[in-house]
Symmetry: D2
Subunit: 338 residues, 4 copies
């Protein structure tokens, strides 16, 4: 249920309605917008006494939401949510590029790549310290040592950091270092992890699962928001289909769908979405053109010897070329890139 307040409703009126909602055993989620405040109501399994709320001062109308997601819905919050990552704003006019190696393999590799992507114009450094790998015998990441290397790169190049948390035991430590905590595709429906991410004060990057519908992606974001963390960035990263010319099938239509259904920002990951470096540049352009708020790109200084996902990593030179092309496209599409 969604309570829509009058345009002129004062803060006291909003607080009053929230108090009433809580008294009814429900949870109130006030969402201040540019025009008016809406108050999301969750916890109502059955019919709620909506009349009691409707008669409160400052209440304009009550919308009974039928979609399974509420807090992530654009009906709840009609403006675009802009997630502020220590000053870097994801979901606004600026097109944000996050780039870096798949895994943090060593201090030297990370700093070399960080330097390169920073110079090319990336704002956020990606890199995995905890790696979910199909095989128990594959490289599983440098763990906390990797997080420290990322922090050093942040210090040195003024980049923000996005890195993945893979379980409830370590997510808090990851959040201590990261500017954005990533929930990977394999964990998109790991609800315990989502709930814990919802209790962080760090923004969360939530990747679409390999066979998740867009509605399931939004429901997983709902898990995070329902715990109180509103800073959720979604990510389309390709789905599994019969098509075999790419590793996954990047489903770009998901981006305008999410933009219409939800207020949350969404970025695109053409590196995982295609799994082939020569497809990353064209799909990056297409991602910007379709309306994504940014990109997540794998860059490696020595892809042939990468410990994971080498075939999809751009070299710094290829990344540079990509940024040049995107910068030329941005103004035509109403976006900015520094």
């Amino acid at each position: 249920m969604l309570v829509v307040m009058e345009t002129a409703a004062p803060k006291e009126a909003v607080d009053n309605v929230c108090r009433l909602i809580e008294q009814m055993g429900l949870t109130a989620h006030p969402m201040p917008g540019a025009q008016r405040t809406a108050i999301g109501v969750t916890g109502n399994k059955s019919q709620v006494d909506a009349d009691r709320i409707l008669t409160q001062p400052g209440v304009r109308e009550i919308i009974h939401v039928t979609k399974p997601y509420k807090l992530v819905s654009r009906e709840f919050y009609p403006d675009n949510s802009v997630v502020d990552v220590g000053g870097v704003k994801v979901g606004g006019k600026e097109f944000i590029v996050m780039a870096g190696p798949c895994s943090v393999e060593s201090r030297e590799q990370t700093l070399v790549v960080a330097d390169a992507v920073c110079k090319a114009g990336a704002k956020i450094l990606r890199g995995g310290a905890y790696k979910p790998r199909t095989s128990p015998y594959s490289f599983q990441g440098l763990k906390e040592e990797g997080l420290k290397i990322l922090a050093e790169a942040r210090e040195k190049y003024g980049l923000k950091i996005v890195t993945e948390a893979i379980d409830t035991d370590t997510i808090e430590m990851v959040a201590d270092y990261a500017d954005i905590v990533q929930i990977g595709a394999r964990n998109m429906q790991n609800y315990s992890l989502l709930r814990k991410a919802g209790r962080l004060s760090t923004p969360v990057l939530l990747k679409r699962g390999l066979s998740a519908t867009v509605e399931e992606l939004l429901m997983s974001a709902e898990y995070i928001m329902a715990e109180g963390n509103r800073d959720v960035i979604l990510c389309e990263r390709g789905v599994r289909t019969f098509a075999d010319h790419t590793r996954n099938t990047l489903d770009l239509s998901a981006i305008p769908f999410v933009k219409k259904a939800s207020h949350l920002p969404i970025i695109s990951d053409p590196s995982h979405g295609t799994g082939r470096k020569d497809k990353v540049l064209p799909l990056s352009r297409a991602s910007m053109a379709v309306g994504a708020d940014g990109l997540l790109i794998e860059v490696h200084n020595d892809p042939a010897n990468a410990l994971s996902d080498g075939p999809q990593a751009l070299t710094p030179d290829m990344f540079d070329e990509m940024m040049v092309e995107l910068r030329a496209m941005a103004p035509v599409l109403g976006r900015t890139m520094e």
Copy 2:
């Protein structure tokens, strides 16, 4: 097998090699390129006496092609093929938009839509006279009457015409009227129809099947080219996956893949690819950005009452807006649009 001639090889040398190939019981496909001529050899089930060819004057090298497709391969013909549709060039620098109703429903509807798409800048009018429908009880098209209406629209607005042929009995009649004969997704592996299309002198638009791999699409184009028709335009139109927010999943990564593997032009059909009109505009932009040579777009003056596929048809106003946006993007992407 591919015979690559010297840069300076005269026409006589090429003719000589072709003659020899034919004497060996094989078929020669000379492909004159900007730099040199290559001669595709088909019909060789087993090992061919390559040495005899290699010793002919003007022959530089012989490449044993291991890919299952030959004539469609970029190894056979390194430049981009440009298909000339009565002066409208598909596959060149210009980005070509084909637009019109799903079905030709009446003379009036067709002329109204033709007028609108022509004014907005489309070069080719699409419209189905023969409709492959899932149900035998659905509207099956106006047949030859529909072709005549399309021809009248061509006359009146100076547009070229693309329309679908659905069987071997009627493809020749369709080709009598059409500037491009379309082979639809359901017929992508109707090999008898492909062979007959290969004997036409009209360009062919070949749509990817609903669950066809890109390699299978190229193999179907090979069927057409093997019969002698080199004017093949490919079309990505979405594949069937589990994703349910769009009718099909438009697989834009197929476009750069085809561009690398083949010399043939490829366009995108975001109308069928998404099945939802509000997704057509963003996916059209993305199609141009990813490298497509053009678009196939459904436009209807009254989508609510369309006899087929109304939910995915743009109104003339929406189409106009799309063309304005594409025209702004084109120069940044190295394309032209009049």
Copy 3:
């Protein structure tokens, strides 16, 4: 629309209703059942004057069918349809095995295999004379020569013959030789071919397309039945999914679904459905257990040198073992096998 007659309604009453339906510009399809006759009505695009029919003598009720398929629906014809193939009854109590080589490669190979499958208990010999192949350079079948070889095998071993027709130009010739004309997966939505199959007096085996829903399969059967041919046998042969341990994913749940929705018989093709000979035996058992009316099995005397689909062909010994196992299972599942 379905007109249900009284149990005791005489033939004259049925004829009278059919005449009236035809006078209304519609088509009547009388379906005599064990209990009563139902008359399917097709051709009604809009509301029909049902009252006029309801008041005729012998009419019990009128059912407005909302499903997109009519003639194939179990609502139209509540009993199981049994397709009589020259005395071999498909869809009855007997579990019917059709077996033979993928392609008719030579007279000798065909007779050797026919002999083997006949001895093991197959009732119908399969073998392709016209082969739809992904590549134009692959073996395309022996064509009419192949049909003659099949006819000779029929003569010699008393088997019936099922063989594929791939286009409208040759389907009649195929029907001249075949006891069952097969429409392959790639042609499931080749509507011109379906219509022509509908005008044959030969039974038709219709295979599910690689990415066809079960409803689309039923709609394609509707095309055949709408033309007057009621002898349609459906076939589940695997669909295309991401799973890569088999060539296709045999969707056995389609079989009980079809059995409930339709009166038509349905068989299973585990050879194409798995593409791997060591999976054919277990999936054959599962097909019988799930309720299929029979099997279509590839058997080759020398799989390693088969001109097509060798990896999925059973040897005669493996086929024999399969038949022994099925024969043991049949009585438990209420089926018979000679």
Copy 4:
């Protein structure tokens, strides 16, 4: 790498080889078989000094395993693994049925269902106390209270219990109550959870993920076994495809594939695999026929009012009918059912 011992090799020889492997910094997994002992070696990222091992007394040969999975491989352990669940043996000759409600909703409901499935012949009671739900607002299970109810049912009816663990925080508590700890489809690649399951002494039921290949399923089992827990039971429960007549597509070919590639037992879950109660019975028969070691079936005394997954739950009567049919089939397929 796999070290195969001589048939007659004494325990001392095995211990000696294990000691040597550990000295080399690797991990030894002795697998005593009926014929001989094999010793799996894991931890070897690069080439190992195999010669040193080969020269030890009692060693017959060394097999370099190229498949990505090792401990789960049938090459490591050629016999069928039989998982002993407190006397109920999964993977042996007996066909084991696990049945019960999707969720433990109340003490009364659970006891009623337990009574019914016990009488019908089920050996293991299923029931979710922790429920992974797509929506944060759906019923999430009774948690420990639910586990206590299951334990009471075990006491009362002599059934074993299988119930799901959804995170690393609660898996140990679940294991305190359960006879088998289930890892659900959504958590198949939750590697932290798999590792913790690998350190339990309780058998684990690992369900295939919605879009997991069979190889990925085996790799996830490898995570569990690599931690020391060898009692892993696999479960095919349907994959996500375009087919819409069932909720998922039950991929029965996975079962013979797993049986060949691995020594682990595998059961089938036609309740989730089809999502429709009227498909459960035919697919249960097919699962037995294809070679599954057992079934996981949802049964509810009042499906219309179930808090989760009502449409796929059998009534006790339907379950009873299913058991009667399976009991009739079992001897023909070489299985036993009490």
